[in-house]
């Protein structure tokens, strides 16, 4: 299984990632998931999320997850980009691509990867520019 993992403060360049896609002639399914920063985080309106990663451990944990995927499914390729630092609302923080022979495998592996990431990969969020109902009360009195 081919893997490509990038943790970067740069914006995710979807066009470049798509241009670099390689798939052999036995592959029938490409699933791409993008996680995008939303303007609401809980009850707060935010302008961005500041992502912090423990890079070395995050890479290692992603690699462990990739190995589990390789053991469970006939996936040809996994590519993942996670942006760190300040990611503005409406911009993607996560881009994942799975290439597999069949649709069911591609969807299963992609969802497994994201679920496992959310449990194990040491990356954290801090809202930026938040005006939560609590903090705005501080200014209204």
């Amino acid at each position: 299984m081919k893997t490509q993992l990038t943790i970067t403060p740069e914006p995710i360049d979807e066009t470049a990632l798509n241009a670099e896609r390689e798939l052999s002639d036995g592959m029938g399914a490409v699933v791409v998931f993008q996680g995008v920063v939303r303007a609401q985080e809980g009850t707060a309106s935010i302008s961005a999320i500041d992502y912090e990663a423990f890079d070395e451990m995050a890479c290692h944990q992603f690699e462990l997850i990739f190995e589990e995927i390789d053991r469970q499914w006939p996936v040809e390729s996994v590519r993942l980009v996670h942006r760190v630092g300040v990611v503005p609302v409406n911009a993607p923080s996560l881009w994942v691509e799975i290439i597999a022979p069949h649709r069911a495998v591609a969807f299963a592996a992609c969802q497994f990867l994201i679920d496992a990431m959310k449990q194990r990969v040491p990356i954290w969020k801090k809202p930026v520019g938040g005006a939560s109902s609590t903090s705005s009360q501080k200014f209204s009195t």
């Binding site: 995050a58 944990q61 959310k118 040491p122 954290w124």
Partner: protein
């Protein structure tokens, strides 16, 4: 023995530092280290049960026996994506 403890995410705000060193008796466990950290930084006590613990780049259980120079990481639940 001496081990290094790294704090991540808002644990850094609670401790006021990103890294600290800890003196522990020989064959102390990761759980022992965690207890010693909480003694030094009581603000972390509240998050004791939800704290994730790693040695190096791997998660380890409280029973894990530490070695001189180990790098411990303590952090809150992860939030990638």
């Amino acid at each position: 023995m001496t081990v290094i403890v790294k704090f991540w995410s808002y644990f850094k705000d609670h401790t006021g530092c990103s890294e600290s060193t800890l003196e522990l008796p020989e064959s102390a466990s990761l759980g022992d280290a965690h207890s010693a950290v909480i003694e030094r930084f009581p603000a972390l006590a509240e998050m004791q049960n939800s704290t994730l613990k790693a040695v190096g780049v791997d998660y380890q259980p409280d029973e894990f026996v530490l070695n001189e120079g180990d790098e411990i990481s303590l952090f809150p639940p992860v939030q990638g994506g």
